[in-house]
Amino acid sequence: MEVLRIVITGAVGAGKTTLIRTISEIQVVDTDRQATDETALLKPTTTVAFDFGRLTFAPNQALHLYGTPGQARFDFIWDILIQKAHAYIFLVDAHRPQDFRSGRRILSFMNQRAKIPMLIGLTHMDCPGAWDLDDIALALGLFDEATRPAMVPINPTQPSSVSQALMRLVQELMKAPVLN
């Protein structure tokens, strides 16, 4: 079995679990628990270990998707998951500037732990008050347009949008020397 492991990360509520649910062929193994911290103001449950989804696209070839928790107290899980990933998507909720700071910290954590192909997905772009792409880049500490990672809008609730984003990530993978 040939497997490509992709991690979906990002701050609380960015849409990690949703994305994996949207694309997975199996019922997603999620570890969502009732939120009792400030996450509860945003949504009822939050991921405490990881989500796991799978997409088998050819005999003996599959995509494994792992979603991380969003809160920094789970950074040990970020570490475990990213170490085994071939590539990752970092999601950021474009209409919650209050989460950009924690997003930036996750991004710098991931970037330090794994130099692997990645993509930044902007979610909630359909929501009022969504920031535009270049402003978000800056808020994430990505000052240099020439060297920053690819950034694309993603709607994790829509299968076609998720497929497109994954295609974009594969493009990044093709650029990188992970090929045989």
Binding site: Q112, W131, L138, F143
Partner: protein, 292 residues
């Protein structure tokens, strides 16, 4: 396009950085709100104007009389003269520039007026509860403009150097467990102070801020503040510590769980991943394309 949020979510310093780097023009409206420290406080509105990422004016009124009232308050010109002259100021010319051309104000006076506006903006960096709205679709109020301008980042760094109460920035400061890593750019002209440059010497990502504090014999807060200024100036980014420093290696023997284990294993942990073949990726793409 407009950006609206709370100062708790995005500090004024970070906002000024955004304005600078994105070369934004327009009006930043800041409304202070009562907070736990000052529950009786009224709401005040301030307006800061930017052009191409540069700070050009700050006033606390929208009637266009902020600058002239400063001039008359100082007794530099009479109300009558000011009114007569300002009615003749050509469109899209800063009032300050016009007064200077007319010979009624000197450069030094314009500088004083501009620093008054700067000070007003700087004082807002201590505001703990407030909302802001950045509207990039409004024209400059030429009546309020001296004609002088300053990089927004320098306004922010200047304000942070003088800041006494850092409460408003508590959430924005890098965590003491993090380190700083140089971005590999050198900007000599940054408004940083001596301590900032001392901290900058540690920008290799290997020493946690709390340990920098110990080495420099400074409080952790002072080091966090210096690191924040360096981050803001675009010189460094905050990163998790890469290698353990000497004092992190000291372990108590019966300790079951190591709080800093992650830091110590970070680099050695790169797992050898099975590679994927080109045909694998090809298949994946065609599959995804059929779904997209």
């Amino acid at each position: 396009m407009a950006i609206t949020s709370s100062l708790n979510d995005l500090s004024l310093a970070e906002l000024f950085q955004l304005i600078e780097y994105r070369r934004k023009s327009g009006c930043l409206r800041i409304s202070t709100l009562p907070n736990s420290l000052a529950p009786e406080a009224k709401t005040y509105h301030y307006y800061i104007w930017f052009q191409q990422g540069r700070f050009v004016a700050a006033v606390n009124r929208l009637d266009g009389q902020g600058l002239v009232s400063e001039i008359t308050k100082r007794g530099w010109l009479s109300q009558r003269v000011v009114e007569r002259l300002s009615s003749r100021c050509p469109a899209k010319m800063p009032l300050g520039v016009y007064f200077k051309i007319q010979g009624v104000l000197q450069s030094e006076q314009l500088h004083l007026l501009f620093s008054t506006q700067l000070r007003q903006a700087a004082s807002l960096f201590e505001v703990q509860a407030g909302e802001f709205n950045l509207d990039t679709n409004v024209p400059l109020p030429w009546n309020e403009v001296t004609g002088l301008s300053l990089r927004s980042l320098d306004v922010a760094l200047g304000a942070l150097r003088m800041l006494n109460n850092w409460q408003a920035l508590a959430e924005a400061l890098p965590d003491p467990s993090l380190a700083i890593q140089s971005r590999g750019v050198i900007q000599q002209k940054c408004r940083l102070n001596a301590l900032d440059w001392q901290v900058w010497e540690f920008a290799q990502g290997t020493v946690a801020l709390k340990n920098i504090a110990r080495q420099l014999n400074q409080s952790v807060e002072k080091i966090q503040q210096a690191a924040f200024r360096l981050v803001l100036a675009g010189l460094v980014e905050e990163v998790p510590v890469t290698r353990p420093t000497a004092d992190q290696k000291i372990r108590s023997t019966n300790l079951i769980v190591e709080p800093s284990t992650l830091e110590t294993v970070a680099e050695s942990n790169e797992v050898e991943k099975p590679k994927v073949s080109a045909s694998f990726l090809q298949n994946l793409v065609s599959f995804l394309r059929s779904q997209a």
